[in-house]
């Protein structure tokens, strides 16, 4: 099962908002993709309601993302988005970009798990920015052999 399917399945078993948000917050606390010490200005994404930091790096044939946020729910969403993109090896990324260029995230998964419905465009914009940064980095990585 892919991360996306896992997360959707997990979410479907959570009936109340408390449980859904507990799940999201927990993701932010326990995720290998979150580093609460990541607060360097150069990793800060401008335009989100809460502060979001995303650091991208390449290790062997893999691109790695580490993130953080000053808001509990956002930190969980950062972990979630990174989780969705982190298993992509170079081949997976290439497949993702075939014929699609660097398109912005359509929040497909976030919509399905029922988080995004109450988030305003401003906040959704924050999610788009996270996805955009991750995708842009990956796109440049597969385009540019110097990585």
């Amino acid at each position: 099962m892919t991360s996306t399917e896992e997360i959707i399945l997990d979410f479907k078993t959570l009936p109340t908002w408390e449980e859904k948000y507990e799940y999201i917050i927990e993701l932010g606390k326990n995720s290998q993709f979150i580093n609460p010490k990541l607060t360097d200005e150069k990793y800060l994404l401008e335009g989100c309601q809460s502060k979001v930091w995303i650091k991208c790096k390449v290790r062997k044939d893999e691109v790695i993302f580490i993130g953080n946020s000053d808001a509990l729910i956002t930190r969980g969403l950062v972990a979630l988005i990174i989780k969705l993109y982190s298993k992509n090896c170079k081949n997976d990324w290439e497949k993702m970009f075939v014929g699609r260029e660097k398109e912005r995230g359509n929040h497909h998964v976030l919509k399905e798990i029922g988080i995004i419905k109450h988030l305003s465009m401003t906040r959704a914009q924050g999610l788009s920015l996270m996805e955009e940064k991750i995708k842009n980095y990956a796109f440049d990585w597969i385009q540019n052999s110097s990585y």
Partner: protein, 405 residues
């Protein structure tokens, strides 16, 4: 049925929504009379204004001008020629910045702006200084987030100061500034004054003539009218000096292929087909407010404001900004060790509609040394029951976030 319930029933939004709408500073709900006016226009009256001589065209022109007349009376302007229809406060401020002040401000002139203005009352001026070589001079504010009148008075005496840009009511603190005093001082020093009245029109009695300001800008949608409507009030003698800023049908006296002449204000500023349905709806919104009366609105709002203040005091770790001088029911706050985004997201999850973030006031957020806050903004249709329910939800959400920290 209480009077407040009767008034609330005039707003169909509340019949169709279970949530608590506490985001009135962003936009207010619309009463049936406004909605019906717009529907009826499109259903039975639709035609253009100021052009066609057929019966419907003439009727609509009369109705359109009646709205202008109603707004003139509502804000105490001297003449309806002083009322220009725009798409909102932002549009109004941009129009005067890019027309009147672009022409009159010179290199080295100073514009006084405070750090507690809405972005819409900062950005057009920032753009203007690039084009004119004028400068922005920040005016001081006091710890209670009101204007520092003494300091402004001193600044107004500088010969380079040509324009004072202020707001009437803050969209963050709900404080009504004593703008009359500032306008009087500015006028003595021959400094022009532009007032952002976006948050004032639905709550305060406005009389531009008594205030004496040169320009007063506001939006229709924050006063129970349609979105995409707004007003630029300008003193007649100033509007007559302004050249049109956009060109098209409906604004001309005579058009030649090389040269044309314009109609007088306000028509020379209203090129192209106007937001007719919107303007008619706005006229109804004004009528609605006047029928209720600002005095009654103030009375109800003071009651709900007192109720909210008492309730908010019971929340541990709360910090409310500009709490001492509030005049309208806008409450911006943070809770210690809880992010405003988390709070608002979970309030929304519980059907309490509030706003968080920098509230289009980033310089004020920097002044307060915060990234943002939660804003709860009420109007006369919000009830004490809603306040109680909001407080219970707020407590539940705070406890949830603390337990999951």
């Amino acid at each position: 049925m209480t009077l407040q319930k009767k008034i609330r029933d005039k707003f169909p939004f509340f019949k169709n929504n279970q949530g608590i709408y506490f985001d009135n500073a962003a936009t207010t709900q619309k009463p049936n009379v406004v909605i019906e006016r717009i529907i009826n226009f499109y259903k039975t009256e639709n035609s253009n204004v100021h052009r066609s001589l057929h019966k419907t065209g003439v009727h609509n022109t009369e109705e359109f001008e009646k709205s202008r007349e109603a707004i003139k009376d509502f804000i105490g302007a001297e003449s309806s020629d002083e009322i220009v229809f725009t798409s909102g406060t932002t549009d109004s401020i941009n129009i005067i910045a890019s027309s009147f002040f672009k022409k009159t401000l010179k290199h080295g002139d100073e514009i006084l702006i405070s750090p507690i203005e809405h972005h819409s009352n900062i950005l057009p001026w920032q753009n203007l200084i690039k084009e004119t070589g004028a400068k922005i001079k920040t005016i001081p504010i006091k710890a209670d987030l009101t204007y520092d009148y003494g300091e402004i008075q001193k600044l107004l005496k500088r010969r380079s100061v040509k324009l004072l840009v202020i707001h009437h009511v803050s969209n963050v603190t709900g404080i009504t500034q004593n703008i009359k005093q500032l306008i009087d001082e500015a006028t003595k020093s021959a400094v022009r004054v532009v007032v952002d009245g976006a948050q004032a029109v639905a709550h305060e009695k406005i009389n531009v003539k008594k205030l004496g300001c040169d320009f007063y800008c506001f939006s229709g949608h924050k006063m129970f009218g349609p979105t995409g409507t707004g007003v630029l009030f300008g003193k007649k003698e100033l509007l007559s000096q302004i050249s049109p800023y956009k060109f098209g049908g409906g604004m001309v006296k005579n058009v030649g292929i090389n040269k044309s002449t314009w109609l007088q204000s306000p028509y020379k500023f209203e090129a192209g087909t106007q937001n007719i349905a919107g303007v008619l709806g706005l006229g109804k919104a004004v009528e609605f407010i006047q029928e209720l009366g600002i005095d009654l609105i103030k009375k109800i709002e003071t009651e709900i404001m007192t109720c909210m203040v008492e309730e908010l005091k019971t929340i541990p770790g709360i910090q409310i900004y500009g709490d001492e001088k509030r005049t309208i029911p806008i409450f911006s706050f943070n809770i210690k060790n809880i992010h405003h985004y988390d709070l608002t997201a979970l309030l929304a999850e519980n059907n309490v509609l509030t706003r968080s973030g920098h509230l289009c006031n980033q310089p004020l957020m920097s002044y307060l040394n915060i990234d943002g806050c939660v804003r709860v903004s009420l109007a006369f249709y919000n009830t004490p029951e809603e306040i109680n329910c909001f407080i219970l939800t707020l407590k539940k959400v705070i406890s949830f976030l603390k337990n999951n920290k």
